[in-house]
């Protein structure tokens, strides 16, 4: 990447994005945000920071591309299969004791994680009494969840992940292949509520038995991480589960005291108070 940006420039950009459009990237982790801005400039062939700033200020239609560019959407089905195995074997039996199961996937990107969970629920015969809230700040990725269409090229990998997660079926029974795309069963989608939600600025909107927030907190600084974790704490039932990314940790955070490790290797905690 050619350009080299300074901290002050990043701050300038985040201020403009907030003042003009209400998107608050101020407490995003600097090192990665800087890379995202440089990548955006390279991809969109914006030669200087001044021009990027000008474009952002004068072209509101450029905003979706900026939001898409600054955030990282990389995801997959049954990402870290061992985590889903643990959920299948030890979390679902607990959830099954509830008459109705509410699940929040915060920062779920294009929804692969949500479809994975829907499949686990279906196989445990719990899907019909579950609701999966799928939220992300980026309206573009949200649309893809509603479509339920994923690239065929990924299916081999997802099928392997599915089996590692303890899946016993033929993974291809969950989708119909059309050209280069796999369209997932409408049944899975029927229990999903898809909406934009910004973890920085939006509030708690329900009470859940389990919240997934995987590989989102890594993009936040510690102060924002604490704020978002407090939001989850307010949104989680007594004895509810919190599932973070495999390299994220509740240790040293403001809510750590209210949680006990349920499966430390899988980064699953349970609310105790």
């Amino acid at each position: 990447m050619g350009v080299m940006l300074h901290d002050e420039e990043i701050e300038h950009l985040t201020t403009v994005l907030y003042d003009l459009y209400g998107y608050d990237f101020n407490h995003y982790a600097r090192a990665s945000l800087k890379r995202r801005v440089m990548r955006l400039m390279t991809i969109d062939r914006v030669p200087s920071f001044a021009e990027l700033l000008h474009k952002v200020k004068t072209e509101p239609s450029y905003l979706p591309q900026v939001v898409q560019g600054l955030t990282v959407n990389v995801t997959e089905m049954f990402r870290d299969p061992a985590v889903f195995k643990t959920i299948r074997e030890t979390v679902l039996p607990v959830l099954a004791t509830h008459p109705f199961i509410r699940i929040w996937h915060a920062g779920c990107s294009t929804g692969e994680e949500v479809y994975s969970m829907a499949i686990l629920l279906e196989e445990a015969n719990l899907l019909h009494r579950s609701l999966l809230y799928a939220t992300d700040l980026n309206p573009v990725v949200i649309e893809q969840i509603k479509n339920g269409i994923f690239p065929m090229s990924q299916m081999k990998n997802y099928s392997e992940n599915y089996i590692l997660s303890g899946g016993k079926k033929d993974f291809s029974s969950y989708y119909t292949a059309k050209y280069n795309w796999a369209k997932f069963d409408e049944r899975l989608k029927s229990r999903m509520i898809v909406s934009t939600h910004n973890l920085v600025s939006d509030r708690s909107f329900n009470e859940f038995q389990i919240i997934f927030c995987r590989n989102v907190l890594i993009y936040f600084d510690k102060e924002l991480q604490d704020r978002v974790l407090t939001l989850f704490d307010e949104s989680l039932d007594q004895l509810g589960f919190l599932v973070l990314g495999t390299k994220e940790n509740l240790r040293f955070t403001s809510i750590a005291g209210n949680y006990s490790p349920f499966s430390i290797k899988d980064k699953i905690w349970r609310k105790t108070s």
Binding site: A29, R30, A31, R36, V72, V74, L217, I218, E248, K265
Partner: protein
Amino acid sequence: MAENQLNTFQVVVIGGSAGSLETVLAMAQALPAQMQAVIIIVLHRKNDPESILENLLSYKTQVPVREVEDKDEIQPGNIYIAPPDYHLLIEDERTFSLDSSEKVHFSKPSIDVTFESVANVFRQRSIGILLSGANADGAAGLLKIRKAGGTTIAQDPVSAEVGYMPQQAIDLGAAGMVLDEIALISSFKELLNA
């Protein structure tokens, strides 16, 4: 630890791909039990949830070895390993951060990404070492370290199991020194004592 010591520790960042594991283990074995530097290791490897690399390294040295988690504190006297499937970044002098964004040179973790991040934050206190590999990752990052005033070493492509990766760095003019494994390990020790 005295405040000024905190601000002067060196940061050694080692990148390797195919054929580099033995060299990394030999380097770990050469470490004094007490050292002031921070050592960061970025190796291309399969996603192993069992942390095999962490265990292998721990057999070779008394120095604490840790696979990095998000926002871990950077403390002198430790070896840190980039976790599989994440890029390892330096947030500031005291803090790591992780990033699950797109692969760079087909790699995650990418050596370039960490080298560049170390160069940005630690400038002339950075020491970059690029080992064996069949990939172009690491060369551009090593150049960033060199341009920031840091020390850079490429393993001699002839002595490396796979010479392609260090050769790329040499061709870019990123290598301040080109050393075979034995010379590399002895200058590694010297740099740590400096």
